[in-house]
Amino acid sequence: MAHNLPPQLGEALSRASMFFVFIFIWSFALFAGITMVWLLAWAVRRGEFQNLRDASRMIFDDGEPIGEVTDRFPESIKASGEGR
């Protein structure tokens, strides 16, 4: 895109966008870094990492419990046979 612009405009645009990227990334990274550490401590205190077994089971419910196969070829049940 910028290669179609007049050189001065292209360069100014280039500098402006680099400045934007620079400020954006670094300020956010700094902010994120501090918040991360704080949140990690908070999450550990709250016991977020203690019940992983339940988390792995949350995709099942009473309608589709553990041990229930939930997908088949359309006709394989009708014929109650095996697929090929």
């Binding site: 990227v21 956010f28 990274a29």
Partner: protein, 204 residues
Amino acid sequence: MGRTLFLALGIFLTIACSVTGLVILPNWQFQGLKPVTKKDGVKYPMPYFGDNHKGRAEYISHGCIYCHSQQVRMKGYGADIRRGWGTRRSVPRDYIYDYPHQLGTMRTGPDLANIGARQPSRDWHSLHLYDPQITSPGSVMPRFYYLFDEVKQGESPRAGAIKVPDGYPNRGSVVAIVPNERGEQLIAYLKWLNQSFPLPEAQQ
């Protein structure tokens, strides 16, 4: 909500680090690169201008990059130099005026970093682009016939026309070809591609 934020920020941090490391840092490293002045007072590299500048746009528009790279690997890594694709390895300074870059990652066809030095002839480039089978039998490059005007048998000769060789099987009634405006531009660009100037940092 705290957990959402925690997750999102952590994930963001991973990409923020890599954008800093791989996009911003290299750009800083290369920002100071300036052209060098040769003994005859000419600078290398030189910005693209006129026909070679427009020809570069043709090169991009026709997607040459999908089969041709523009980078010579160092001695002892691959056979780029031994194949005669260049006299030295390519270095970042060779590309300071390249926007957008056309380094390429595929060599269905040969490397073009020094095609201007290897093939300085307008006739060769014209015939090769018109039908690669003329100059490189067995090539899988498409014919870029639309970059040329054809001079048929019986038509009056034209200035700058290039004779199609007699042995060319698909010749038909075409006796000569003349690159049209875009063809001339593309050829000017290809002839411009030349990294033979021995930059100091490429000698190490």
